[in-house]
Amino acid sequence: MKVSAIITLKKDVLDPQGKVIQQTLDGMGFKDVNEVRQGKYFEIDVKENDPKKAQKIVEDMCNKLLANLVIENYKIIEIQ
């Protein structure tokens, strides 16, 4: 199964890259932006046909390596 996960910075963690992107967008004329937060996206093809088990495997990966839970949250967004 293909499992997609996104990893985002927690709300109170400063995201300097997001800030610079926002400033650049502003300079390009996108004036209606309140905030930009940058994150990561993973697509992981696991050798598992049961979607629940596949999700568990990827959650385990997120907890142990893909996300740093001090500053990041993860979310499984798609299993197919």
Binding site: V13, L14, P16, Q17, L65, N68, V70, I71
Partner: protein, 227 residues
Amino acid sequence: MKSAVITFPGSNCDRDMHVALNKFGFKNKMVWHNDNELPKSDLVVLPGGFSYGDYLRCGSMASKSKIMQSVINFAKSGGLVMGICNGFQILVESGLVPGVLLRNRYLEFICKNVFVKIDNKDNPYFKNLDKEVFELHIAHNEGNYFCTNDQLKEIQDNNQVAIYYCNDNGKTEEKFNPNGSLNNIAGIFNKKKNVLGMMPHPERMIDESLSGEDGSIFFKNLLNNIK
């Protein structure tokens, strides 16, 4: 006294650390990240560099490499483990010291000399030092120390801050903070103070004609403390 420096793919301060440790009397061994066992050591050093190309998060891959299980066991049994720069990032990713290191505040790679103030000498690294302010070199893109409020409280309650960024007089004001680190924190201990992570590179300050000798003072004192 025996030491071991771990080389990860992408480490680039491992040789400098090897030279520094040998210069001040350690018998150092280089250890490859894919080895299972540490040689018998009094001190293990995780050096600076760009382990695994800084992929995913700095230090995250290296913290899961084969040798790290031995390093973690060594640290948990009270052994001295020091992580410099990327080594500090590996320590936080392995959970040996609390917090994380984020991108520098202004998104720039910083390479310059800074002053740091030693906060607490009640540990094997700094005890018996007769000065508090050291001039050391930093070179990093991700040195912006951050931790949760709960972690910060625990760090402060246990006196785990090792060094703060400051000026040459030891003033730890925000304007002497090069990278945005929380409370000017440049280095952190674990609870037991046998694990030290710090961004500055003492191994780059061991020769008067090249840089300065504040690193020499640190290494000489460290050797005497371990003896």
